[in-house]
């Protein structure tokens, strides 16, 4: 994180924090798991934000080399939401971002349609990219969501 000091800042900041220690930023987390078609959300307006990193995962036209028409996703919904929230909170300690929104679709998702959309807003791109990539890795390890079925053409 680059820290820009305002020109008028004094050596004893008003907030009471030592000059070089900044309290962790509260990250705004929003998680949606449902069977709706994913539409990218409007990003939050916040003049501190300089970077928006997004990932959309779409269903590919083949699974293990076999052409498919759709995949079926299933979630253990309350646990999936709680695990994602915990992962994001932990990751935001290392990569201080301002807002994260995750939408994961479940049910039948056809080829070309989005199964997941993640948006990360931060002051600078480095922390947005880092959190986004790390979250996708953790999601694929520990979030109870499954591709349960393949619907063939």
């Amino acid at each position: 994180m680059r820290i820009h000091f305002r020109h008028e800042c004094s050596l004893v900041p008003i907030s009471g924090y030592p000059l070089r220690f900044q309290p962790p930023l509260p990250v705004h987390i929003e998680i949606v798991i449902n069977d709706s078609v994913i539409a990218p959300p409007s990003p939050r307006a916040d003049s501190r934000i300089g970077a928006l990193a997004e990932f959309t995962g779409t269903v590919r036209g083949e699974e293990n080399g076999i052409p498919i028409a759709a995949l079926v996703y299933e979630a253990y919904q309350p646990m999936a939401e709680m695990v994602m929230r915990r992962q994001l909170t932990e990751l935001a300690d290392a990569h201080p971002c301002l807002a994260v929104r995750v939408q994961h679709r479940i049910g039948v998702i056809r080829v070309g349609e989005a199964a997941i959309h993640i948006s990360v807003q931060a002051r600078h791109r480095a922390e947005a990219f880092a959190l986004l990539a790390a979250f996708m890795d953790r999601l694929k390890q520990d979030v109870p969501i499954w591709k349960t079925d393949t619907i063939s053409i």
Partner: protein
């Protein structure tokens, strides 16, 4: 104890929820033994799956109470 089965575990057991009457606490390992006894098709999933309570994955020596709700979590594949 309430057992929740998801994805491949639901297929293996043929149900998404079952109640198993228990009178005393038991470890995760012992619960797996019991589950595989009831549903032999779970045997193949045991080594790759995890049990969870709430939003916590449980280590093999965790102790479960008879009133717990436990989820059987096969390897995940979201995203």
């Amino acid at each position: 104890m309430i057992l929740l089965y998801f994805a491949h575990a639901r297929r293996a057991t043929g149900c998404s929820l079952e109640e198993i009457p228990l009178t005393s606490p038991l470890t995760v390992s012992l619960l797996w033994d019991l589950l595989v006894q009831r549903h032999p098709e779970l045997a193949a999933l045991r080594n790759v799956s995890r049990l969870a309570r709430g939003d916590d994955f449980l280590p093999n020596d965790a102790v479960l109470a008879p009133a717990d709700e436990i989820a059987v979590i096969p390897p995940v594949s979201g995203g």
